[in-house]
Symmetry: C2
Subunit: 586 residues, 2 copies
Amino acid sequence: MITRLSTLFLRTLREDPADAEVPSHKLLVRAGYIRRVAPGVYSWLPLGLKAFRAVENVVREEMDRIGAQELLFPALLPREPYETTDRWTEYGDALLRLKDRKGNDMLLGPTHEEMFALTVKDLYNSYKDFPVTLYQIQTKYRDEERPRAGILRGREFTMKDSYSFDMTDEGLDESYAKHREAYQRIFDRLGVDYAICHATSGAMGGSASEEFLAVSDNGEDTFVRATEGDYAANVEAVVTPHPAEREVEGLPEMTVHETPDAATMDTLVEWARSAGVTVDGRDVELTDTLKCLVVKVTEPGGEPELTGVLLPGDREADMKRLEAALEPAEVELAGEEDFAANPFLVKGYVGPVGLAANGVRVLADPRVVRGTTWITGADAPQRHAVGVVCGRDFTPDGYVEAAEIREGDPAPEGHGTLTLERGIEIGHIFQLGRKYTEAFDVKILDENGKRVVPTMGSYGIGVSRLLAVLAEQRHDEKGLNWPVSVAPYPVHVVAANKDPEAVEAAGRLAEKLSAAGLDVLFDDRKKVSPGVKFKDAELLGMPFIAILGRGFAEGHVELRERGGETRNVPVDSAVEDILAAVEEAR
Amino acid sequence: MITRLSTLFLRTLREDPADAEVPSHKLLVRAGYIRRVAPGVYSWLPLGLKAFRAVENVVREEMDRIGAQELLFPALLPREPYETTDRWTEYGDALLRLKDRKGNDMLLGPTHEEMFALTVKDLYNSYKDFPVTLYQIQTKYRDEERPRAGILRGREFTMKDSYSFDMTDEGLDESYAKHREAYQRIFDRLGVDYAICHATSGAMGGSASEEFLAVSDNGEDTFVRATEGDYAANVEAVVTPHPAEREVEGLPEMTVHETPDAATMDTLVEWARSAGVTVDGRDVELTDTLKCLVVKVTEPGGEPELTGVLLPGDREADMKRLEAALEPAEVELAGEEDFAANPFLVKGYVGPVGLAANGVRVLADPRVVRGTTWITGADAPQRHAVGVVCGRDFTPDGYVEAAEIREGDPAPEGHGTLTLERGIEIGHIFQLGRKYTEAFDVKILDENGKRVVPTMGSYGIGVSRLLAVLAEQRHDEKGLNWPVSVAPYPVHVVAANKDPEAVEAAGRLAEKLSAAGLDVLFDDRKKVSPGVKFKDAELLGMPFIAILGRGFAEGHVELRERGGETRNVPVDSAVEDILAAVEEAR
């Protein structure tokens, strides 16, 4: 199929749109792939739609390959099922709600767990029907507070969402593993640079959870990767290894000291060094001090509970990590009123010994294990305790991930160190468990005739977002650069020579490539200069640009690989050479 | 590709859904093609989605063939453009409106004229870019007062809508003609039984307008067809021919008579016959009497104007035809207060002579031409006038289509008579004109450097509705019956014999058909009886059902054409025979 630029509904722009901040947004608008209709709401113009369908088809093929069955739910949904699962309210302002002419509450689906669970309940009732995996590629709605970056975070967008239903947890593990592989194949085929990150399961409940993050400086999510091996994780999901425990017997006794000028961890270290304090016979480091953060933790439906969180003195607290670790409980820092109400909390000098003595729960960083020795607050103004030994002078009630992650931290599983990177979420796979099947009382007869609740996996891919991600990862200053798997057209033929023979040869080349099964974009515009044509070709970003220009007189077609090499191929073998180049790039 | 019934996400139902009235609704639900989510809102289950995609692809191919370019607008739209064209209010309760988190008014698009016009304005500015035709296959929303018949009239549905933009009216004629042919090809390929009906252009303004109606007893629209030739029209669009005019000179004088017992047209005829009145020397017929309807006509922004509408006495008024004829004016019958305010209006005895004498506008049925003679009310109680001649005793101010259409009426263009049929609108093509381009001030430089407003055509196909239409037209008491062009699978292979060799042969047949490029539905279920399998196959409605059953021992595959003949084909040549049968049915 040949599309001619002389008739294609397209207008490229030389200027960036005023509201665009990231390259993908700028380029997709400038290259005429998308057009803004309202904040976070875009149309797909012909080139954009073609690229979008290409991504959609890769996703569909790989979902079909793992035996997932496609269906399609409406976007307009009744309130009741979302009321049953509390999501009608939990979604807050992100949910687009409306009333129909009869006054019924309806919503625009942000995700369809409810509908899938209800449909399976409706159709299936015996273990013989399981496992089953269903998916849709469908338009979703979320009223983002700050829709940004074009189609990177829109309010109307396309997702592939799938759900597995299994009779057993082992079955769910299998369904999950299949999805994981399918996602790897999808992102590999699309040429995305991504990491599979351990994720916390979050508010959704459930167990295993991994996010697929596309690596991008413009990503909203920070994640870590190991310098060796495949380990990657959301910052919230990084697990700090416990060091080896030590015998506490024989360690020096705890002593309390006046520390008038040691209000910060750094000045505390200075004091210790000047006072000649040593740890294991060496000078004190920041890592020998122990911070004690006082927070209030509120379990759902419960009362706030005062909690001490112990952190090595060289680390800041990362409240997002702490919150993720304690979810679904809510966490806030203790305020003046809490200190006032609990006089044993001496601000700046809180220590684990005093907390324990006053019955306050103490959660420690995983580095605080039995036999480690610390300098801590001594629960009195301008006093610190030295030689405070974990497992002897205090014992944590539990462990918690509350410390910041730093570039260079040791990676789990012993694979080098961690680097911090930015990413864009493109997929999420997730062992959802029985939350929704229980909510809707989905009961299935098992082999023994017992009615059991099946367990669900929930898996999503941001289909429209992937276009923005690829634009983000693969552009240069001149424009877009699509992989063959996504490009609206693998080849862009440019007639860049006014010689009628050259123009005719360009047309013939386009025809022959089309006859050979390639979709061809043909710049046949008559009154447009070669320079403008080249600029447009670079902006539009087809992987191969075949130019019939100055070299035509010498029998050459100039074949440019977008963002790669340029070479001359003979006019006579141009079709075969281009087909071979496209094939190789697939 | 083979889909096995043992794993397909499907549950057929023996009972009709409680809310279903028409066969397509009952069968599509029972056969597991669609599932209700809310009134007028349905999901597509796997079989339904496959059939839906098949229809979508036929539509897409034929749109592409006429050079229309596909793009995709969002469903969630801002209020402003719809405010500009007044449709924000004109749509009334049928428009689904909502507010986003910032309080902005938004809507779910019922149709996208505004967005297309704005996009063309945005991208194009020179005559060189025209003509251009754009289309989308997209989810639309209309909050129907009475969503009915499953996907026949839903609140969320899929339409193909396209819009042509031309610099000249002649260009629009061409774009319109291309669409007309594309629509014929689409409906022909899908095997729909349809008529192309002249339509009134209605509230949208514009000129040429035709509706494609699928013939169906369960249709909501009545239309007429000529017994000879292709003429078909919406009832509103039927044009009544004028009879030949006659000389008025020499016709008998008008006389006024006391008619105490002639309150109805029938008793008026009785009176005339008993009084010896004749017309052209023959007895009076009902067709010699003339009704005079008094209505009020209100032009947009104007005051109600009293109007007399003359109709042959044998015809009832068809208010919908009258309204369509006078659109955009609104029409209502004169009420008691109008008669009270205008004493010359004698209820039951209003005649054209009195109306004209009192300056009331008179619109006549096209049969009321110069030289026709009538018996009418004489504008006095219990009095009628005989020998009232059009063109002598009164002259209509204009003509109007207000009389009912009856089976057997002469067809226009002299092609036999009219039959009345019911239909379902599946497509509409329409010369929209400059309403939207003017509203958005779309101005394009023509060849002379003058800025002109391009003219639009608007063309729609109800894509999801077509599935219901095909189900409606092609079912029998046993179930659905898809054409090959739409069937989710052209062939349904049934293993209906427990002999392991037969089961294996069925599997092999499915494999071979699949390898030959056919999508195969394979009923491989183990504990299901052949009877149930046959019932399901008939309900699901694939065009060919290949059964490995009792005949297998004799080397036969039973090949049933759904709704057609059954024959035995040898196991050895079954693949070729089935491929040939499918090919022939394409």
